[in-house]
Amino acid sequence: MIASIRTGLKSQKTVAVCSVILFVLFSLTILAPWISPHDPVEVNLALKLQSPTWEYPLGTDHLGRCNLSRLLHGAQVSLGFASLIFISSLLIGLLIGTFSGYKGGVIDLILMRFCEGVMAFPSLVLILGLVGIFGPGLPQVVLAMVLVQWVYYARMFRGMVLSLKERNFITAARISGSSQWTIIRRHLIPNVLPPIIVMGTLEIGWAIMDIAAMSFLGLGIQPPSPEWGSMIHEGKSYIRSNPELMLYPGIMILIVVITFNVLGEALSDRFGVKRRF
């Protein structure tokens, strides 16, 4: 019992620390336009590859742009679009998975075979293929990621609905005259939603890495807009002379992804929610 209390307290501390880190990061992201010392896209070749100074706290890049300003504005893209991808794919997955699980039969058979077909490919390969078709650019990357990610959520929600629909309260709702959509809206969705908080913390970390990977490959956000993945891509030519150009965005990705994952693990331990994989 003492061990379980210790584990509980440890998990509470982890959740608190991670939440504070994420709160600070999200605040900095929202306040980026006001707290950035410089314009993140303003080129000044006379100041290129400067070491940190009071005016440029993290130095400048190969085009003389302020590294700190670019990091702060890049966070808007990474965190903002990762959240957008998570929410969009989750909503699509929630609707399709819940509907498919509740209806069953041929509809479920077709939808789930489609999902399994998508899941048969590594998601990054499929995203690359779709971006290849849509063309490079952040909106296209977001669309491709949503198109690939929703199937995982759909499978998860469908599984939850399959076990829920066997419960008597669903049958009682049918007999009480509730329509299919009322049952889905009033009974199924509220009961499958709580694990989403846990899922979200785990999945946003993946989305940030995928966006960064796409930008690193030159398929995501296009220059001169700042984004952590594209900053690593631009800094790789200076890896020997100025490794900090890659290190700063790399460390930011590391901090955010690790924080989200540790928070997700702590929450999943606490609420007994399993990861999707």
Binding site: F169, A172, R174, I175, R186, N191
Partner: protein, 265 residues
């Protein structure tokens, strides 16, 4: 005209997919029975006899392979959706597992209010008042309407299930092992409540159970199912105990004596 007529119902289960059809296991085999207005029929049988499947078929949840379910003279499975919906409000259910019968995220008010929302157009105040009255009818307090299922005991939850079932003033309730999961004292209280409701609202019951004592307490007529067949149907429950049919005798032998010394194993 009888309230409910089950005519030669045959039903079975079997897994199948697009490419092959497995052999179906027959669960109901040519079952026929009748329930009159205000009558309670106790349907007895061991686990797997097909009692609950018959309940589902009567409730319109599973279409039988053969046969008819006539409720108030209308075939439930051979009518349009609007008539079926209209009939459904007169035919409600109470399940065995009181915990899984209620949505854990809903308050008692929302649970009991669901059928009212679907069928009655009451103002929020009227609906609240009706729910309060229903709670009082089943022996709970109107203050309980704000509580969630986890705040109730098993017996109280079953009362909430009963309140939901009678909310629309139905003509018939299917009580599918409605008291089986409760302790003896709560069982007796719920049976008394069901008897009172039957008198007050003129309800008919199909009381599905494996407990002959409970069935005998509440029912007017008794029937026994075995391996999907209705093997005994007795309109007068007092005569039921004298029936020489082996399945009746087995059920009677299964009753434990009050005194441990006179119990035979």
């Amino acid at each position: 005209m009888s309230l409910l007529q089950v005519k030669n119902v045959t039903h079975g289960y079997g897994s199948s997919n697009l490419f092959w059809q497995a052999k179906r296991a027959t669960v109901l085999d040519d079952v026929s029975l009748t329930i009159e207005h205000g009558q309670c029929l106790g349907l007895l049988g061991t686990s797997g006899a097909g009692k609950s499947t018959l309940g589902k078929v009567i409730l319109g949840l599973e279409k039988p392979q053969k046969g008819q379910i006539l409720f108030q003279g209308i075939d439930l499975y051979d009518t349009n959706a609007s008539t079926r919906r209209h009939l459904r409000r007169d035919l409600q259910v109470v399940f065995q597992d009181c915990y899984s019968s209620v949505n854990p995220r809903m308050t008692a008010e929302q649970i009991i209010g669901e059928p009212l929302q679907n069928f009655e157009s009451l103002s929020p105040n009227e609906q609240k008042r009706t729910i309060g009255e229903l709670l009082e009818t089943v022996g709970l307090s109107p203050e309980d309407m704000r509580k969630y299922p986890h705040q109730f005991s098993g017996g109280q939850l079953q009362r909430i299930n009963i309140a939901r079932a009678i909310a629309l003033k139905p003509k018939m309730l299917i009580l599918d092992e409605a008291v089986s999961s409760l302790d003896m004292v709560t069982q007796a209280n719920i049976l008394t409540l069901l008897k009172d409701l039957k008198t007050i609202f003129g309800l008919s019951y199909l009381f599905i159970t494996h407990d002959i004592k409970a069935a005998y307490t509440i029912s007017d007529a008794l029937a026994v199912m075995e391996k999907g067949e209705l093997v005994v149907q007795c309109e007068d429950k007092t005569q039921f105990l004298q029936l020489p049919h082996p399945s009746v005798q087995r059920l009677l032998q299964s009753i434990l004596s009050e005194h441990p010394r006179s119990r035979s194993l």
